[in-house]
């Protein structure tokens, strides 16, 4: 597929999404929202799949947990993949499960060599179950943990080498982490294995003045700093499927399409984009 720009899909946007001009448009769905036995959600997914390319983005596999991915949850992901026929499937470098609980967050961990072994094994299990490659997304980090043995870019590079997975680079996450932890976002991006980058995410964040941190809230427009990083990344590595993500404080569909068109112009600067 030609690398173009897409939008995160929300049921609230179903009518607008379907009415959208087709050229290059694609949608990303959160896998967990379609892990149900039947009904209107699955009907919506089927219509979307028949009309546009779809990517599936999981948030619940907990790949960095100290245990294998839950077999039932993995089976549900396989079922969503069967239904959605996605051109990409992605998950996160994070954990969310412990003692049988499933926390709705993407949690950090000390990037040790032992953790690398564990995450690589878990990615193997998932890719074998799906019988295809998945992309792994870099996290948003808020506080420096003790005990890291590898920098994040090296940890991700090792995962690519060991498992053959690809990377989903969330440029907003890189920016948020770089500001919160104090590193250079451009250096980080330059250190990633560019051939492995299969998708890019762009989203907005919120400044928490009291905590003095940027929070990855997905509730606002993409900021200019993040656009500049994105433009630099694409100029260097070439076009990649790029997603505008908005999960909260949903604006009119047209506002998201404006951001989507901006990403499209970065990806295809030589082509005039129709209104």
């Amino acid at each position: 597929m030609k690398p173009t720009a897409g939008l995160g899909f929300k049921p609230e946007y179903f009518e607008n999404a379907l009415a959208c001009p087709r050229a290059g448009q694609w949608y990303e769905v959160h896998a967990e929202n379609y892990m149900v036995a039947g009904g209107p959600r699955l009907a919506m997914l089927a219509v979307l799949r028949d009309s546009f390319p779809v990517s599936v983005h999981g948030v619940g596999l907990s790949l960095a947990a100290d245990h294998e991915p839950d077999a039932e949850h993995l089976a549900r992901l396989c079922e969503v993949a069967r239904r959605a026929e996605p051109f990409l499937i992605s998950e996160h470098l994070a954990w969310s499960s412990f003692e049988g609980y499933a926390l709705p967050d993407l949690l950090p961990f000390p990037r040790t060599r032992a953790a690398l072994e564990r995450v690589a094994d878990n990615i193997d299990i998932v890719q074998n179950a799906l019988r295809r490659r998945i992309l792994i997304e870099n996290p948003s980090l808020y506080v420096q943990l003790e005990g890291h043995e590898l920098p994040e870019h090296e940890f991700l590079t090792e995962l690519v080498t060991r498992t053959g997975c690809g990377l989903l680079v969330d440029v907003n996450n890189v920016y948020v982490s770089s500001r919160n932890l104090g590193f250079d976002a451009s250096d980080y991006l330059a250190a990633l294995p560019s051939a492995a980058i299969g998708e890019v995410h762009l989203a907005g964040h919120t400044a928490d003045a009291r905590a003095g941190l940027l929070i990855d809230t997905h509730d606002a427009a993409v900021t200019e700093d993040v656009w500049r990083l994105y433009e630099g990344l694409i100029e260097r590595i070439g076009p990649r499927p790029t997603l505008i993500e908005r999960d909260d404080n949903l604006p009119p569909f047209a506002e998201l399409m404006d951001e989507r068109e901006r990403a499209h112009r970065v990806l295809c600067p030589e082509v005039a984009v129709h209104a």
């Binding site: 709705p104 953790a115 905590a211």
Partner: protein, 166 residues
């Protein structure tokens, strides 16, 4: 020292049990609780409508602390919420609340089940009349505190409901 499992048990416990703690823990605890509160509000919209946001959030927070999710599929989160409401002291003055919540839950089940869908509940305190009133936004509401049945079906994609009076 930095064993993954040891770290995650400590971090996870700090999220679920604590109230203060390091900044990172607070940020993640807020995200976790917001995820569960948003899911409960989505799955129990009639309860949120009946009691208002502030009351609902306080109640949902207590529920989430007592019943952390065991599945990442939040579309189905809150199975024990009706039973929780029946024991929740501030809800004692609203005796119809647990039964209205049962119908909200029934709706979630009917919305996500495989074909064919038939769900029925027998409720007290005119809970079915109250539920239908809030779902349809009808202007007048007459309740007589009676026992009622409600039947949910999904014949053509959308959920349909029928009130059954004794």
């Amino acid at each position: 020292m930095h064993d993954l499992g040891t770290f995650q048990r400590a971090f996870g416990r700090a999220l679920l049990d604590g109230s203060g703690g390091a900044l990172a823990v607070t940020i993640h605890r807020n995200t976790v609780m917001k995820g569960w509160l948003d899911a409960l509000r989505a799955n129990y919209p009639t309860i949120a409508q009946l009691v208002g946001d502030e009351w609902f959030d306080a109640c949902a927070l207590e529920y989430a602390r007592a019943h952390p999710a065991r599945s990442p599929v939040l579309a189905l989160y809150g199975e024990e919420f009706p039973a929780f409401l029946a024991t929740f002291a501030p809800a004692a003055e609203l005796p119809y609340l647990p039964d209205v919540a049962r119908i909200d839950r029934l709706w979630v089940e009917a919305h996500t089940a495989a074909d064919p869908v038939v769900r029925f509940a027998w409720v007290r305190h005119s809970a079915a009349t109250i539920w239908i009133h809030h779902r349809t936004g009808a202007s007048s509401l007459t309740v007589d505190d009676s026992e009622e049945g409600i039947l949910l079906t999904r014949p053509r994609g959308a959920i349909e409901y029928t009130l059954c009076k004794s």
